[in-house]
Symmetry: C2
Subunit: 415 residues, 2 copies
């Protein structure tokens, strides 16, 4: 059977834009893994009426997941509102209260705080909707499974707590049976670089993607274009035809067809080679991105962040005359930085980056967004000068994407 | 009068968790600046029925903002669905078509692509709801103001386009009048470090924050605790009393009361001093964070990323015997890294970081999340060994927050 779900993310801090929600996207991916179709995500503040309206909105789905609003403060009211909406009331669970207090009290001993109000907070969190299944706390807050049609899974707001509690919840009735009944969904993600949205739109139009039995999603992420498709097993051959048509047109810029990011593609392609960086405008983000992945210490030897001209010379052996002749932002200096990183760290590959991230510092000849990149190795060199759009943060982040694709090209050209 | 709004974020790529929405939070802050109260944010995929249901959900608000679904592909259907929902139809605007084609064609000449399908895409984007006000494209997609009760502002999905179009839209009728009628809202954000959620919850309980006439929101962000309050001008004195009570209890860990982040606080406090980094487990993210702000080249001299023991010695003068005696993750090595960064770059302040970001590499004595930090200067040293929770990414990010607060403490202790 087809199982439809809705997600309600609670919290005035999310609604007001103070904090970026991570739980909606995470739960969305988790549901897809179980073959559950997500209809909408609703973000509501900590106001009972707005939460009730969101629950009403999902009255016809099979499963509602809520995140947040289970803390010890008075504005944490999700459990109570869900209970009322499901036609039940709240009751104190004394055993749960003792378990929560044990957690809070050990925290209190470490960080301090008055006992009486913290004890009151633990008691508030130990109130349970009558008839609900309790999910044991992963931080201080318990979660709940309430009702049967829909099943409402009430989960905490901190992402780590929510993720660990979800892992428990999927094995607990009535959620376990509901998820088992959902069938399965396949997801495929094709990633391209460089490819623009108008180009992929033209392709989709040509092959009449609109008439396909499944939904095709395209999006630009960190400068790369993704084509994501979710389909039922019965649609596998239609999907294969679709993918073949896309590959025929854009196979030359397809760099991942198995969900791997460019970061993961690089990590695999390095296979024993080492890399070092010398970066100016990215200020450490290039090295930071290379070391995002666990195990990167096997191939990242290190890097230098050389903002000033003096540092470029002292840490990456850039000749001051080169800077004087061509300017700090120049292909020549990028090349010297890459060579300096390589030789200083004794690495197989060196990445050199120098540019103008903005918002200031641009000139007519070298406007904000101009970045010179070089990746060098014993078997060849990749060089580019790009002009990237967007804010300082955009330019810095996009630069690291361009560098990773240059690194991939250079690794691909190795004899 | 009070003006209520709803936001609809469209896009299967957002609903499915492939891409993290930036427009909801941004528009939420923009609305607050105009004194408009936001009721909910709904995220929907590119399915007409789900979008119509989201519009129905907001039938009783004064203003609905939509983002996304204005592109050239067939799954971009926001304008058409909004038009139908508002009781009107779509019509081709030939002048608009020429303006869009001029933009797309110049892009095509740069990046390539077939003319016919791209021309068809431009024509699709030039269809306008009858009676709507057209907002000129900031990328290739135009936006629209449709209807009067509610006013629906149909905006594009790419954040830069949306933000620039919003800046135009607020001056266009009927949106301009609606925003002018909304009165005003004050927002105050107090930021604390270190402070835990149970501690602030206890305080809010003691001072009976639940009975205040305005909404108080607390949230943990990058390891810091924020207390955000939005109130009407008439509630200013009640707010002042509330803030005084919070300050009385937690003033010692309050580091910002004017909206400034710790990054901005540090940038101000450095006032002429310079800083350099030598980092291991954060792999460049510390230097990357220090250089996030425009103008940071005035005080960040640079940094070294020293993953291997050899690099620690070669780039930050860490004595190999120190590493042999205490291990690479030790207070002694953190201190040597800080001193090395300072002396190598000739900086006033040096930051040294070494730790175990995980998921591998932990031991019983030094589990994953153990990080040794040191900030040194001519007038003193701050040192800490912390054990941070969470994923590799959490540990790395939280480490940079801890380091910035140590830097702040050291700057505060300067005679």
């Amino acid at each position: 059977m087809s199982v439809r779900a809705g997600i309600i993310v609670t919290g005035t801090e999310v609604l007001s834009g103070l904090i970026r929600d991570a739980n909606g996207p995470w739960l969305s991916e988790a549901l897809r893994g179980f073959g559950v179709e997500l209809s909408q995500i609703v973000v509501v503040g900590d106001r009972p009426d707005d939460l009730r309206r969101a629950l009403d909105f999902f009255a016809d789905v099979d499963l509602v997941l809520t995140s947040g609003g289970l803390g010890p403060t008075a504005d944490d009211l999700t459990a109570e509102v869900v209970a009322g909406w499901a036609g039940t009331t709240m009751v104190l669970d004394p055993g749960l209260e003792e378990r929560i207090w044990a957690i809070v009290n050990s925290l209190r001993k470490r960080i301090g705080g008055e006992e009486a109000p913290m004890r009151a907070g633990a008691r508030k969190q130990a109130h349970v909707p009558v008839g609900a299944v309790v999910l044991e706390p992963k931080g201080t807050a318990p979660g709940f499974l309430v009702g049967t049609s829909p099943v409402v899974a009430v989960l905490p707001g901190p992402p780590r707590e929510l993720q660990r509690m979800w892992a428990d919840a999927v094995n607990v009735e009535p959620l376990a049976s509901l998820l088992r009944s959902a069938g399965s969904l396949e997801q495929r993600i094709l990633r391209f670089f460089p490819l623009s949205e108008p180009q992929i739109a033209a392709t989709l139009r040509e092959i009449d993607a609109d008439s396909l039995p499944f939904e095709v999603t395209t999006c630009l992420r960190r400068g790369e274009l993704e084509v994501a498709t979710v389909y039922r097993p019965a649609e596998a051959s239609a999907y294969a035809t679709f993918e073949a048509e896309i590959r025929e047109r854009h196979g030359d810029v397809l760099f991942s067809d198995d969900g791997a990011t460019i970061d993961e593609v690089i990590a695999r392609a390095l296979s024993g080679l080492t890399v070092a960086t010398a970066e100016s405008c990215t200020g450490g983000l290039m090295a930071g991105r290379l070391t995002d992945l666990a195990g990167s210490s096997a191939y990242v030897l290190g890097g230098v962040v050389v903002y000033s001209n003096e540092a470029k010379t002292a840490f990456a052996d850039v000749d001051p005359e080169l800077i004087a002749a061509h300017g700090a932002v120049s292909p020549e200096v990028a090349r010297a930085l890459a060579a300096g990183a390589r030789s200083r760290f004794g690495a197989d590959l060196g990445i050199g980056i120098t540019g103008i991230a903005g918002p200031g510092g641009g000139t007519e000849e070298k406007p904000v967004g101009t970045v010179c990149l070089c990746v060098s190795s014993s078997w060849g060199v990749e060089e580019r000068v790009v002009r990237l759009p967007g804010s300082r943060a955009d330019v810095r982040d996009r630069t690291t994407t361009v560098a990773l694709h240059m690194l991939r090209a250079l690794l691909g050209s190795r004899a």
